[in-house]
Symmetry: C2
Subunit: 146 residues, 2 copies
């Protein structure tokens, strides 16, 4: 298993845990030098926290960092505009996404700002997200402010 | 006192409270129909939370909202790229900023995405932020990932 597949599986575990507790199934892992610095998942339902998308919860749990220039962030779903802005602000050089089939559109903005975007097109990530959107369109639309 | 001056004074109170507890002095207030829905301030120092900029803490404290299309967000300092992305995602139509002297640069991106940006050029906001940057450049640079 490649590093990317290994850490995406960790992000998927976070997404699945969120799904199993009734939440939005997006998970994320922050990695530095092959070690996990933080991991998390969407907390809109679980903590009634509208800013806690998967990537945001992961970065919060990682705590204060002097720099992110030597990190990689993994996320099961292509980043929304909030998470895109955060990745750009924090100068995270690489984002590995599980998929951009169920949601996407900010990949080019990330690339325009110098971020390396790698799409794994992960069938498990696609299937879990599609299932949630089908089952709970109300929560999903709230989460992306649609 | 105009509505904008009134709510910016509330945001300033948040910023000042953060400064007085050793934190980054950026405060924010979310308003709907003349009523405060949420208010907050930067929590990097107080909660070791790197994603809790003033606007983000305010939006978190406001809790889940079905829509932000009828809201105005006030912030003592021009939004960084994270907060800019969040305002765009949440479709908040108007952001009133205290100042963009000490930090700025995302106003045009906000306007390009249809957000109305109003700069109050508030002397108290400018002075408090300048004082903090002078006193704690280490924390300030960490907060904007410089």
């Amino acid at each position: 298993m490649t590093d990317h597949a290994f850490f995406m599986a960790k992000a998927y575990d976070q997404a699945l845990a969120s799904y199993q507790s009734g939440g939005v199934p997006v998970g994320s892992v922050l990695v530095r030098g092959g070690e996990i610095v933080g991991e998390g998942h969407n907390q809109r339902v679980q903590k009634s926290d509208p800013i806690a998308h998967g990537e945001m919860d992961c970065l919060r749990r990682a705590g204060r960092q002097r720099s992110y220039r030597d990190t990689v962030i993994y996320t099961t779903l292509s980043p929304c505009m909030m998470c895109t802005g955060t990745i750009i602000l924090f100068k995270i050089p690489t984002v590995v996404i599980g998929e951009c089939v169920n949601f996407g559109g900010n990949e080019q903005l990330l690339r325009d700002r110098g971020v390396n975007v790698i799409d794994l097109k992960d069938p498990r990530c696609i299937e879990l997200m599609a299932r949630f959107i089908r089952e709970r369109p109300d929560i999903w639309n709230e989460d992306i402010a649609e």
